[in-house]
């Protein structure tokens, strides 16, 4: 403990009285009033009270700031976690979108295939019927022509019809075969 001199004591008391400036901080804890000097004892008591009050206030404020900092840190962590969730949700939605687009493309492709299949089946049926009709007409005409040959009765109309019919059938057969080959070649790579 430090016992101060008369001069220092007087200066300190004067400064406190005139300018309201008091000693503060831990220095106060080592200051001692001279024995029997109640005025300086009171002064030291006031100084200590003021210092304690100021420290208490500062402690309270610091604690508040500390608590706010902790809250802010917690909020920041929460925000980061939310951002992470949002990011993963976005990624999920993007992957779902890609999956949906793939499914849509698959469906469109299946539909196109089905349509093509139906078209081919239709074409097949038409070709089959046409071939039956052509072959039927050919067979009937051939039969009639053979019959006239067997019975020896010449029929120029039937002869020309038979030859024309075979000519047409031959030409058309090549045309049909050509068309089918062309279509097959055109759609073969897809």
């Amino acid at each position: 403990m430090i016992e101060i001199t008369e001069h220092t004591r007087n200066v300190l008391l004067e400064v406190a009285k005139r300018k309201k400036i008091f000693v503060e901080g831990n220095f106060l804890k080592i200051l001692k009033a001279p024995k029997g000097d109640s005025e300086f004892e009171t002064y030291l008591k006031i100084c200590k009270e003021k210092d304690s009050e100021a420290r208490r206030k500062r402690l309270e404020v610091t604690k508040q700031v500390q608590a706010q900092n902790k809250q802010l840190e917690a909020k920041q962590k929460e925000n980061e976690s939310l951002m992470f969730d949002l990011q993963s949700a976005l990624e999920d939605s993007e992957s779902s979108k890609a999956e949906a687009e793939k499914l849509r493309d698959d469906a469109v492709e299946s539909l196109e295939t089905l349509q093509k299949k139906t078209q081919f089946e239709l074409v097949g049926k038409i070709v089959k019927i046409a071939l039956i009709v052509i072959m039927g007409v050919g067979l009937i005409t051939t039969a009639l022509f053979a019959y006239t040959l067997v019975i020896g009765q010449e029929n120029p109309i039937l002869e020309s019809t038979w030859s024309n019919l075979f000519g047409i059938l031959l030409t058309n057969s090549f045309s049909i075969v050509g068309t089918i080959m062309g279509v097959k070649y055109a759609t073969g790579d897809k």
């Binding site: 804890k29 420290r55 610091t62 500390q66």
Partner: protein
């Protein structure tokens, strides 16, 4: 009352809280607050063995996890106790209460473990009562929670 006390903690706001609380509770006259164990290590290295008569802290409070430092509080205590041979009262002040860490601290010679909280004053007050026991090395290791 402790003449010189050293606090090693990376949280600067806690320095203010600790200084004010110690002052209000008349625990220490002078507090040196450092924010890294490296800085503390440099000081201890300078005092021992080069300048063993240098006025050194009577008591050291170390945080457990000191961000930005090469080693944690337990390693700091081990260094002070086994490398520098200071003989000062030393312990941990941390928000952690992990029993494993407490056991480790005890093994390297920590004398106390104070759990940091918003209301640190009652713990420091209790520590103040036990302080003389720590100086004489008679008080057992204690956790202030």
């Amino acid at each position: 009352m402790i003449n010189t006390l050293m606090l090693i903690d990376d949280e600067n706001l806690f320095h203010l809280v600790f200084e004010d609380a110690c002052s209000l509770l008349d625990i220490a006259l002078s507090i040196e607050a450092l924010d890294s164990s490296d800085e503390a290590d440099k000081k201890f290295k300078a005092w021992f063995p080069d300048d063993p008569d240098h006025e050194r802290p009577e008591c050291v409070f170390v945080d457990l996890n000191i961000i930005g430092s090469s080693y944690d509080g337990i390693e700091m205590i081990r260094k002070v106790n086994y490398e520098y041979g200071n003989g000062c009262v030393i312990g941990i002040i941390s928000s952690s209460s992990d029993p494993e860490e407490i056991e480790k601290a005890k093994k390297v010679g920590a004398q106390f473990w104070i759990i940091k909280s918003d209301d640190i004053e009652p713990r420091l007050e209790e520590f103040k009562k036990d302080y003389e026991g720590y100086v004489s090395k008679k008080a057992p290791f204690k956790v202030y929670d």
